[in-house]
């Protein structure tokens, strides 16, 4: 019952467990009769409790709108150079996207990224893409890296920095971390940073986030009314709040009950991704 259906078969991972072993592609949709879930990756070294609102990974400033070499029609790889101050973690953008944001010809193209190794700060690199480039680019090209919507998710912060990704069904434990001098991470870990002479490795957690249907979600002190919409709380990370008319924040679903108590769990019909 608690193992969602992926295609024709039940997932080996229940909605009430997480695992250090990846069982599905990130973003895979799993369903139970009236609820939908997405398979997510978590890389944070503090825990994420059950029934909390989760946000997609915020864009990394140093990976947005960076100078790029031309994209060449037919190529299965593209150039990217992260700005100073931040590396690209191993597989941080696996299943994510690269978008040509500025240029003359070929602007607007977006391609899905393949797995990639750890990339050092401010060093030009190439990233492999699933589909070939359609149009050779010209002009002053700038590219942006975009995380997979369910890759490197975080507890929804009080200041929204990305769309909502879903709701946890179970406690996601803090990811284990260790260090070493090899750029290649120990088995099951991903290389996430480098500070001479050590690399940092993090062991990812994988599991399901609920994205559609009836759900229990931690709420703040705002008074809820059945049938009204919810948004992310601006006062406590991981909570939801009643939407107000003058907000243009993402609506994450509608309320199924009515009360005003703070820090209790509201019944929500989630509408993040069906």
């Amino acid at each position: 019952m608690a193992n969602p259906i992926v295609g024709k078969y039940a997932s080996p991972t229940s909605i009430f467990e997480t695992s250090n072993i990846q069982q599905h592609e990130i973003g895979t949709r799993g369903i139970l009769a009236d609820r939908s879930f997405r398979y997510a990756k978590y890389m944070v070294t503090s825990a994420m409790g059950p029934n909390k609102l989760v946000q997609m990974c915020p864009p990394v400033v140093e990976h947005v709108n960076e100078n790029s070499d031309p994209w060449v029609a037919g190529a299965y790889s593209v150039y990217f150079k992260p700005a100073s101050a931040l590396d690209i973690q191993e597989n941080e953008y696996d299943g994510g996207y690269i978008k040509l944001q500025a240029g003359t010809d070929g602007i607007g193209q977006i391609r899905k990224l393949r797995p990639h190794p750890f990339k050092v700060t401010n060093v030009a690199t190439t990233l492999e893409i699933w589909d070939p480039v359609t149009t050779t680019t010209t002009g002053s090209e700038a590219s942006t890296l975009i995380h997979n919507p369910w890759g490197n998710v975080v507890v929804h912060p009080t200041a929204t920095t990305a769309p909502a990704a879903g709701v946890t069904m179970v406690n996601w434990p803090a990811c284990a971390t260790t260090t070493g001098t090899s750029a290649t991470a120990p088995l099951g870990y991903l290389t996430t940073a480098f500070s001479t002479p050590n690399y940092t490795y993090v062991q990812p957690q994988f599991g399901w986030l609920q994205t559609w249907g009836v759900c229990s979600v931690w709420k703040d002190a705002s008074t809820i009314v059945a049938g009204h919409s919810f948004i992310a709380s601006g006062t406590t990370a991981g909570k939801i709040a009643v939407a107000v008319q003058t907000e243009i924040k993402q609506r994450i679903g509608e309320c199924l009950d009515a009360f005003a108590t703070d820090a209790v769990y509201a019944t929500v019909f989630l509408k993040i991704a069906p």
């Binding site: 607007g108 942006t144 919507p149 243009i248």
Partner: protein
Amino acid sequence: MPNPVREKYASPISLYQTTNVQEHKLGTRVELADRVFRYAKFMDASTAIPANNLVQMAVPVGNHVTQSDAAFSVTAEDKSVTVTLGATVAQENQYQDGYLKLQSSTLGIGQIFKLKGHKYVASSGSLTAKLYDPVKTTSSGTEVYSLIHNPYSGVILTLAAALSAPCAGVATAAFAACSTASVATPGYLQTATSTWTQPRFGWLQTWGVASVLFDRATNVDSVAGHGVGISQATAGCCNTYIHDVIEQVIGVAMEVLDVEADYLSVFLQIAP
């Protein structure tokens, strides 16, 4: 990879191409792991659709909606209908897989029928189309009807004007302006008395991460996690949603963007 999956099989049409041959029914839904697409028909001979631009559904035809038709009558179990058009032609198959809605009458009001293909009909002529499902209730009284396009038939680049139809999706490939001929030509559809137009078919992205041309000038910078709407100042563009309007929200911004005519990362939420 670029050929989306329908049921068990990959479509013969990649996300990055359009064709003049129809491979699927209009509106067919296909998906890649985290993105959804719909199959659409484009019939515009003057304005092309560039890739990564917003596309809207066909604009309702004033003389085909809320039309009082004294000659209209349907009987329960009928499998075709005939309506008298107002003073605008109906292009060949303009309403194929679209709908006829009985908007006002005495009996049978509110019924909506899905239409099969039909011929070109001159202005104020009679349009006859077969139905997918038989009529449920015999109608009576003064009949007022509306013809409704299939949401993915006759799509166009969103207009630099007040909204006139919902957003249908984002073009993942450029749709070139359609070719025309002055005589009947195989693969072309009659669109005027002496004009035949060659349709183009392809995919529109309707859900998931997309790159969309951004109009910053008329509203404000995008804000991650905030709504994205349709620009009414620049064709094909999205912009930051403003809370005091009730227009369609097409998705959620994934980043802050403060540059005019750049491409915004949007988590589309048009049709899952």
